[in-house]
């Protein structure tokens, strides 16, 4: 076999030629030029809602030349919570994850600060509501960008006909579509009278007292309406106060007008209560109404979503936001931030809210009057007041304003609904308060 030797001159010439070719060749940008990005989005229960997010992400990925993978992770069976816990332990997983309510704070040490992009987003979309700030910030650090997808207000969804017939309340007149609420008389006293009247009429309010979120959220808003906090913002125990006693007294009266089985209710129970036509009111986002539209249209036509009754300390409504957070182990943080900016543009938000049939709520003040809420029906305008367009309610979350890591324990352990049940079942007020104080002391461990 002959072997041709390469001279030094030939080697130098070949090297120079190939270097020149490499330098002068046109730069072809591949599909992954700006790297890869993996996203764990919340799996929306509204059919087709995920597609809006996918389309927006793909549109951005096309322009940014980033290869994107999206996983839609359901909250059924707490699969999203399990995934968050697993990724936090493994310090590996998605770059962006949709964190529900407390989970941004619970993982604050492992999340990238997005304050640098929140400034421009707020400048464009308006101020963020107080609960989104409470759950999404730690000092000056933003733990995630408030996501419209999955964020919700769990306000009253009333039956127009039954409230008129049994309680003499015209909820449409109180919360007219297209104009400001005329709800000055809509307070906890009128609410209690209406609950009693509907109970007598055989269509009691469907407010649960179980340990799942719907039950806890309602209790949280009513407690805050009395100014009742178990732990204050500084982390002091404030269980044994008059405000807490008043809230418990109110709940004791209310429970006697609720269905007898509310202690066992979960998040599906109130939806079933409304769709079955057995109740005049539930506290829920428009998911129950949307199910009624499909399964019981005659019920859906009579549903009206509106504001919470006001208490002595104000009108509070439960608000549960999601956050798109970036793990600090993400390998493509810049691309992740760029994507979150793109998803927070008003047009993108409107597209996602419309795809959800008005269920999703942006946290920004300029985005509470989108067309979808004016047009959704039947009856037309049923969702008009759902996003709190006139800010006549204070958006809140149960167990706030306690420091979030303590509040999460109060919330997860359903301490509020347990207190109400204990007191209603005949336990002495001071014993109930002592029990709750003991629980809260335990939640303060660091």
């Amino acid at each position: 076999m002959s072997r041709k030797s390469l001279s030094r001159r030939q080697f130098v010439a070949a090297t120079a030629l190939s270097s020149a070719a490499l330098i002068t060749a046109p730069y072809i940008r591949g599909a992954q030029a700006a790297g890869k990005l993996t996203i764990g989005f919340w799996d929306h229960w509204v059919p087709g809602a995920n597609k809006a997010s996918t389309d927006l992400v793909n549109e951005w990925a096309e322009k940014a030349k980033v290869e994107v993978t999206i996983d839609y992770i359901p909250s059924q069976g707490n699969k999203n919570l399990l995934t968050i816990a697993a990724e936090a332990q493994a310090k590996s997983g998605h770059d962006i994850f949709a964190m529900p309510t407390w989970w941004a704070h619970a993982n604050s040490e492992q999340l990238e600060d997005v304050a640098d992009i929140m400034g421009p987003i707020i400048a464009e979309n308006g101020e963020v509501n107080g609960t989104a700030k409470y759950l999404g910030t730690l000092g000056n650090k933003w733990l995630g960008v408030p996501a419209c997808v999955g964020s919700q207000i769990k306000g009253p969804c009333s039956r127009i006909d039954l409230m008129k017939k049994h309680a003499g309340i015209d909820v449409q007149a109180m919360y007219p579509a297209g104009s400001e609420p005329k709800a000055d008389n809509w307070n906890l006293d009128t609410f209690l009278k209406a609950a009693e009247a509907c109970h007598k009429g055989g269509v009691p309010f469907g407010i649960g007292l179980g340990e799942t979120t719907d039950n806890v959220d309602t209790a949280g808003a009513i407690f805050l309406s009395y100014g009742a906090q178990l732990v204050d913002a500084k982390g002091n125990l404030t269980v044994k106060t008059d405000a807490v006693r008043q809230a418990l007294e109110f709940y004791k009266k209310l429970i006697s007008f609720l269905p007898p089985d509310v202690a066992a209710w979960d998040d599906a129970s109130n939806n079933k209560w409304l769709v079955s036509g057995r109740g005049a009111m539930i506290m829920n986002p428009p998911s129950a109404w949307a199910v009624a539209k499909r399964d019981a249209p005659q019920v859906a036509e009579q549903c009206w979503t509106h504001g919470f009754p006001a208490g002595p300390k104000g009108r509070f409504a439960p608000y549960l936001p999601y956050f798109w957070s970036i793990w600090n182990f993400s390998k493509n943080k810049e691309a992740a931030k760029n994507l979150l900016i793109a998803l927070s543009k008003p047009a993108a938000i409107e597209k996602m809210v419309t795809a959800s049939g008005g269920y999703d709520l942006p946290a920004y003040e300029k985005l509470t009057t989108l067309k979808v809420w004016q047009e959704e029906g039947p009856p037309k305008g049923t969702l008009y007041h759902y996003p709190n367009p006139y800010k006549h309610q204070i958006l809140s979350i149960a167990a706030s304003p306690a420091p979030p890591k303590i509040a999460q324990q109060i919330y997860a352990q359903a301490t509020l609904t347990k207190m109400c049940l204990r007191y209603h079942q005949g336990e002495a007020m001071e014993k109930t308060l002592a029990w709750a104080e003991g629980e809260c002391e335990g939640f303060m461990r660091s």
């Binding site: 707490n78 340990e211 066992a264 997860a412």
Partner: protein, 312 residues
């Protein structure tokens, strides 16, 4: 078991030859082959059982934010919590009563099935195993609908007799009864099939001899059946006790621990604290609490089984 003869004088070959031959011998040994064949399973268990077990021990020694070693601090904290002792009490009530009823029902049904003529026995065995072969997450959902607070099928049926409505999952005592009932429904077929296998291995001659001696029905069970089934009863009880103590799905789906925490057991409370409350170290501590109790029970029961095995 010794599967090759020990050969003390077989050491005269040269070093490489000896190495090769010993490797060949090792590979030819039944025990080596058995080990190699079980190796994938051993690796799987090490990865999916041992590693998580040791990792959870590690987690249980950390503080809430998982940044500091606190030794047994989490257990000290738990011992001061009333809810923890409520969970301990409930786990014991749940596991012990469920296992007792499963064993009792399994024993009775096994006797019934054993007495069915061989021709029709197979279909009865198959039908009775149905609750055990359906994934509990699915069958418990069906039970949830039967117990539904507002639309319970049981309450609907009972209403025809003027009974109820019964708060199956809304009252602490009824809720405890409901979760135990579903666990017994799910687990009794396992006892039945194990006891049936054991019954079939009892020699007929013993019963014939007892009949000649004039033993009645009870004496035959007490002096023949039960002693012959002792080992299987012990092992089945231990196995079921461990599985029932660690139950999660039935309670989680039916009551999620409510009302007022009165149906929480170790696993559901650990999930509530660790995953829903984001306090993973405390959740790990709760789930590990039962390990020493079950380990001691396992040692006693298995020691007894070994002793009886040696006597036999």
């Amino acid at each position: 078991m010794v599967d090759v003869a020990f050969q003390p004088n077989n050491v005269s070959a040269t070093q490489p030859m000896r190495k090769r031959s010993s490797l060949q011998k090792a590979l030819k040994r039944k025990s080596t082959a058995a080990f190699l064949m079980t190796l994938p399973l051993i690796i799987l268990i090490a990865l999916l059982v041992l590693y998580p077990a040791f990792y959870s021990i590690h987690l249980a020694t950390l503080n809430k934010s998982m940044q500091r070693f606190v030794g047994l601090g989490n257990f000290e904290f738990l011992f001061k919590r009333d809810t923890f002792w409520l969970v301990v009490k409930q786990s014991c009530i749940f596991a012990v009563s469920a296992v007792v009823f499963k064993a009792l029902i399994g024993f009775i049904v096994a006797h019934f099935v054993h007495n069915i003529p061989a021709k029709g026995q197979r279909k009865w065995r198959g039908m009775l195993l149905v609750p055990w072969v359906i994934p509990p997450a699915m069958s418990t959902l069906a039970w949830l609908w039967l117990f539904d607070p507002s639309y319970s099928a049981f309450n609907y049926t009972l209403s025809f007799f003027g009974i109820g409505p019964i708060p199956w999952t809304g009252d602490a005592d009824w809720a405890r009864f409901s979760v135990i009932l579903v666990n017994v429904w799910y687990g009794a077929p396992f006892f039945m099939i194990m006891y049936l296998a054991s019954l079939k291995s009892v020699p007929d001659q013993l019963y014939e001899a007892a009949a000649i001696d004039g033993a009645n029905w009870w004496q035959r069970i007490w002096y023949i059946t039960l002693p012959m089934m002792r080992n299987i009863i012990a092992i089945t009880t231990l196995f079921s006790l461990i599985v029932t103590f660690a139950n999660f799905d039935i309670v989680r789906i039916l009551t999620a621990g409510g009302p007022l925490d009165h149906t929480h057991i170790f696993a559901t409370w650990a999930f509530r604290i660790g995953i829903e409350g984001s306090d993973i170290p405390l959740g790990a501590s709760v789930s590990l609490f039962m390990v020493p109790i079950l380990a001691v029970a396992a040692i006693f029961i298995l020691r007894d089984v070994n002793k009886r095995g040696n006597e036999a």
